[in-house]
Subunit: 276 residues, 2 copies
Amino acid sequence: MSLKVAFQGERGAFSEQAGYAFFGDKMSAVPLPTFEDVFKYVKNGRVDFGIIPIENSLYGSIHQNYDLLRKYNVFIVGEVKLRIKHYLLANYGVKLSDVRKIYSHPQALAQCEDFLKKLRNVEIIPVYDTAGSAKMIKEKKILDGAAIAGKQAGIYYGLKILKAGIENHRKNFTRFLILSRKKIIAKENPKTSIIFVTKNIPGALYTALGVFARRRINLLKIESRPIIGQPWNYMFYLDFEGSVADKVCSDALRELNELANYYKFLGTYEKGREVG
Amino acid sequence: MSLKVAFQGERGAFSEQAGYAFFGDKMSAVPLPTFEDVFKYVKNGRVDFGIIPIENSLYGSIHQNYDLLRKYNVFIVGEVKLRIKHYLLANYGVKLSDVRKIYSHPQALAQCEDFLKKLRNVEIIPVYDTAGSAKMIKEKKILDGAAIAGKQAGIYYGLKILKAGIENHRKNFTRFLILSRKKIIAKENPKTSIIFVTKNIPGALYTALGVFARRRINLLKIESRPIIGQPWNYMFYLDFEGSVADKVCSDALRELNELANYYKFLGTYEKGREVG
C-alpha cells in the first residue's frame, strides 16, 4: 500500500527527504507548486498526508505555514527534524576541478559560504530552488558546473556526490510537520500544538501561560503572529509536552479556552526525532 | 542643521517616507543596499540615525532586523507606524487608459490584487523593489506602463498619481524603529524593548513574564527567535509600556536579569504615532 504525501517544491526537495524519513518506502511523493496547495490537497482528501517545513534552527519560523495552519482545518499528526546537509552534486564524469559554475538557492549558497570561499575561478549562480538546481544540471547536461542540494536530489536526478556536508553549521535542522485531514492522537512521547488569542487586558499572556505552569506542563515553543485587521494585536501558537488525551493537559486547555477570545487545537503528535 | 539618516532601499522607499514623518525636513536621506549596512553606518557614526522596518501589521515581523538588533550595539530611540498606502504612478502625460504594464514588488502587487483584477489588458510585472519600479519607469521614460509604490517615490521621481490608495487592506501598517549609537531615554509616552534568554527549566518563561505581571507592567509584544547552535532553544524579544528611568520598570529588569541566562537592553523610546 502506498501513501500519497504532498509537499511543496521539486522532486528531491528537503521536504520529500523528510517525508521518506517519516513514512519510509510506503510514501508516494506528490510535489506541488505552493504550500497552500499542500494544505488544499490534504483538506480535500486528494492525498493521504502533507508535509510542510515549519521552522529552521538557524533562520526561525516559516510564517506562511503558521498562517495556513490557522486558515485550514487540518491536523498535525507527526514531526520530523531533518539535519540540513548540503551536497555538491554533478553529472557523472564531472570532477571537482572541472567545476566553473555552482548553482543553488541563495539560502543554500549562504549556508555553504565557507566551502565556496575556498574555491578559485568558480562563478556562484543563484537559482529558485535547491532541488531545482540539481534538476537543471541534469536536464541541461551541464559538464562544467555543479549544484548544491540535499541527498534526496542527488538520488532522484542520478547525480554524483562531488563533496558531502559542505554546510557551515552542523546544527542546521529544519523541523517539518505531517498534516492529515483526520485527527490522530499520538500515544508515544506526545507534544501538542494550539493557537489562542488572549483577551485584550494587561497580564493576559501571563495568565494564559499560568494555566500550563501551575500544572507543570513544559512549554516547547511560543510564536506570535499578527491578527489581520487589528494592528499590534497578536495570536499565539503554543507547543507543549503532553497529550490532549491526558487529563492534566485537557484540564489546562479547557481553562485556557475559557480565558481566550479564540482557541484552536492543531494536534497531539509524537515528538520528532532528529534524522538525516 | 541636517541629520543624516540611513535606510535600506532606493530613494523614495517607504523607509525614507517613515524617516521624513519622524525627522521632518531636517532629514538628509542616506540610501544603502542592505539592512546590515544601516546598522554598520549607525554603529560607526557615519550617519546620525538609521531607520529600519521591524514589523508589518499583515505579514508580521522582519526577522533579519530582530537578529541585527541583537548583533549590533545600537539603541532604539524612536518608532513610526506608517500606513502603507499604495499609489499607481506614471510619467506625466500618461493616462490610466494608456497603461498596459504595471511594475512593482510582488508583495505590493499582492496587496493591490483587488484593484489589479478589475483592469483589462494589463500585464503585471514583478520587480525587486517598489521605489525601484517608480525609478525605472521614470528613467526608461515608459509611456505605456505604471508603477505601484508609496507617495515618497512619486515625489522623488516626479511622477503623476494615476490612482491613490489602491491597496486591499486599509489597516496595513509597517512599524519602523529609529536607531542611534547613543542611548537616549524618552520621557513622553515611553515603551521599552529588551532581549532575554531564560534558564532552560520548565516554567521559565512564565516566571520571567511574572516579573512584569506582578508590577502591572503592560506587555506590548513578545517575539521568539532561534539561538544559533542550540536547536529548539529560543531568545525572547519583549516590548512593554514604561521607561527604564522609572523605578518600577528598572526593578523588573533587575529581577529579570538575575533570572536570565542572557539579557540586553535595546532602548526606551516614545511610542510611535500612526502616520501617512
